[in-house]
Symmetry: C2
Subunit: 431 residues, 2 copies
Amino acid sequence: MGLTQQLVKFSTAEVPEEAAAMMRLSLFDWAACGIAGAREAEFAPFRRAAMVEEGPAHIFGGDGAGAATAALINGTLSHALDYDDTHFAHIGHPSVAVLPAVMTLAETLDTPLTDAIDAAAVGVEASIMVGVWLGRGHYQIGYHQTATAGAFGATLAAARMLGLDAGQTRHALGLCASMASGIKAQFGTMAKPLNAGLAARTGVEAALWAQAGMTAAEDGLEGPLGFGVTHHGEGAEVKPPRKEWQISEISHKFHACCHGLHAMLEALADVGLEADRIAAVKIRTHPRWMSVCNIAEPKTGLEVKFSYRHTAAMTLLGHSTGAIANFSDAVARDKDIIALRDKIEVVEDETLSETQSQVTLTLTSGEVRRLRHDLMTPITLEARSVKLRSKVQALLGEGHGDALWTAVTGSDLDAVTACFEGAKGSGDDGR
Amino acid sequence: MGLTQQLVKFSTAEVPEEAAAMMRLSLFDWAACGIAGAREAEFAPFRRAAMVEEGPAHIFGGDGAGAATAALINGTLSHALDYDDTHFAHIGHPSVAVLPAVMTLAETLDTPLTDAIDAAAVGVEASIMVGVWLGRGHYQIGYHQTATAGAFGATLAAARMLGLDAGQTRHALGLCASMASGIKAQFGTMAKPLNAGLAARTGVEAALWAQAGMTAAEDGLEGPLGFGVTHHGEGAEVKPPRKEWQISEISHKFHACCHGLHAMLEALADVGLEADRIAAVKIRTHPRWMSVCNIAEPKTGLEVKFSYRHTAAMTLLGHSTGAIANFSDAVARDKDIIALRDKIEVVEDETLSETQSQVTLTLTSGEVRRLRHDLMTPITLEARSVKLRSKVQALLGEGHGDALWTAVTGSDLDAVTACFEGAKGSGDDGR
C-alpha cells in the first residue's frame, strides 16, 4: 500500500488513550508558546497585514478570523519563540503545523475538544510518518521538515475534522503536494516561524478545497513528478502505528534557549548547592554543539541563549532557564553569575550522543559529583505535566498558566481558546 | 551580482515601449481566458470556498475580494482552460501567475493602468529569467515552472506595485523562496490551474508581508539551503535584458486544443478550398507529438482536442478551432468532418522541430500544395492583435470582446476590470 493510501486509511484511526493524553500536553505547551509569541512586537504588522477577514477562530493575543487565516497567523506566532515541541524522527516541530489547523477549524465547526484532540494526534502522527519517509536527506539539502512534512500532517488532521471521505482526503493530500513548502535558508529570520504558519494554512485550505470538489493528483505525494521525488525525499519505509504511536516520543522544551544546552541543564536541575561550595564545573558535550552554543562570555541576553557556561551558572544560582525574561542583557552582566561562570569549563566528548551531556562538579570540600542526562530518557506523562506547568507558569504567569491547564484538561473547547487572547494583541506590553 | 540582487535592481527598470505593448496584448488574452474560465461550473464551489473576504479587486465572473484572495482565484480561473499564453524559454505560462497579482493589487492601490502594465512586464520578464535559471532539469524532475518561476515574477511585480525599497524587495523574494511551489503531477487535474493561482497569491502576500516588516533569507533564491539547490535548479547564467526583452517571444494560443496541433492548424489557416476538391492530406509532425495528440477517430469533444486528423478536417471545412464551443461531442460525430478526415494521414518526421509542421494537400485535379508553419516564426504586434481579437471574440462574443479590446488599449484600469464580470459568476450558464 502506498504512503498516500496508508495516510487516507489512518485518517480515521482510533486514537489510543496515551496518544490523546500526550496531545493534550502538547496543546497546553503549544498554546502557551502562541500566547507568549503574540507578545513579540515585531510580528504585529504582519499580523495586521495577514488579517484579511474577521471570523470565529481565536488568534493568539486577541481578535478572530476564519480558519485558514487564523491558522496562518497562529502557526507563525506559536513558532516565533522557537520554544515549542520537537520530534527528532520527524526532524521537526509537529504541533506548530498541526494544532493551528485543528484548533481554528474546531472553532469554525464547533467540534468537541476531545474530537479535536484526536484529529490533532492523527495529524501529528501522520506528520511524523511523512517526516520519516522524507528522511534526513530532505532535511540536509535544505527543507524545513516542520513545514513540509507538517503540511501533510495538518492536511490529514483537517480532513478528519471536516469528515472528508476517502476520495476527498486523497485529493486533499494531493493538493497539499502542490502547496507544501519551506526552506531552511530562513533560519534566523522571521520567515522561519512563517513556514510553520504556511503549513498550518495549507492543511486547512487543502482540506476545505478538496471538500469543495477540487481534484488533484492521486499520488501527488509519492508518485512520479510528485512531492517526494521533486523534494529530495528518501522514501524510507514507513507503516502506520499499531499500539505504540511515535507521538509518545515528542520532546518538550523546558528551557528558553538553544536545544544543545538542554541535556546539560537537565543534568544540573536538582543539584541544590550553595554557590560558594562549588570549586569547579566541567561540562562534557557532543562535538557538534561546540560551534552552536558555546559562547564563553556572552554580552547580551540573546547570546546567553547560546552559552553553556552562562546558563550553567544561572541554573546553579537558581535563575530559571524556563523563563524567557531571564535571558536579558542584565542577566548577561550579572556579577554573581559571571563569578561562578569563571569556574566552568566546557569540553567536547565524542562518546556522547547529541542528546546527552555529562557534568562533573568538584566541591570545595574535595567531593566530586558526576551528573548526566539524555534527552531521550523516557519521561512519564505525570512528570512531564509537572515540568510543563512550571514552564507555562513562567511564560504566562501563574494565573493564566493555571487557567490554561484547567481548560486543556477539561472538555470545553471554548475554554481553551478563550485563553488565547493573552495580552489582547497589544504586542507591545513592554517585554 | 547574484540573481536576487539582479532581480532587485531590475524591479525598477524602465520598460521599453515594445515590451509594454506586448504586455497589453497578453493582458487582453489573459483577461479573456479568465472571463471564459469563470464559466467552468466545476470551479464554482472552489471559488466560493476560497472567497474568505469581500474587497475591491474584481474576480472573474463577478464579485470582489482583497488582493491576495482575488489573485488566488483569478490565477486559477484564468488557467482553467489552458488557453493562456506560453513562453518556451521560461517553460511556462507567464501571464497567469503575474497578471492576477498585478491587477488585483492595482485595484486595491488605485494604480494607473500604464503603471500596472509596466509592473506586469517587469514581472513576466523576471519570471522568464528565473525560469531560465531554474532550467529544464527543474521542469523534468517534476516542477511546474508556471508556478515556481511564476511566483518570483509575481513577487517582483507586486514589489514594484507597492513601491518597496531594495531591502524590502529582497525580503519579498526571500519570503517567496519559502512559498513558491507546484508540481507537474497535477497535470490533468484541477490542481494544475490552482498552481497558477497559488503563485499569484504568493506574489501578493510576499510583497505585502515584506512591506509589513517580515524578514527572510537574504539569498533565499540562490543561496545555500535556498530555493534553487533544494528544487533541482540548474543555475544557468542569466542577465537582466538590455534593449530586447524576452517577453517579445511570448506565444499566444489561437486554437483551443493541444499545443502540438497548432503548427499544423496555422499551416492550414488560409487554404480556402472547397472540401470536394481535396483528394488527400498528409500531415508531417515531430515524433514527440504522435503519442500526445494523434487520436485518429475521436469520439468526444475532449478527444477532438487531441486529434490531428479531426482538427485538420474541421479547419478545412471552416469550423473555427479558436472557439471552445466547437470542441463538442456533436462536432466529434459530424459526418462531413468524418468524411474528410478519412482522407487525412499523419506521419512523423524527425527533420521537423517540435514547433514545426508540414502539410501536403493533393487536389482532385492532381495539383499538389505544400504548406508549412513554425510557431517560432516572428509575428508582428499588429498581426498578433488581429489574431487575438478574433480569438477573444470567439471566446466572449463580439460585443464583450470588443469592449475588452477598447479597455486594454486605453488608460482606464477600471474599464478593464469592469469587463472581468462576464457572466456574473453564474458558473452554470449552460455551456
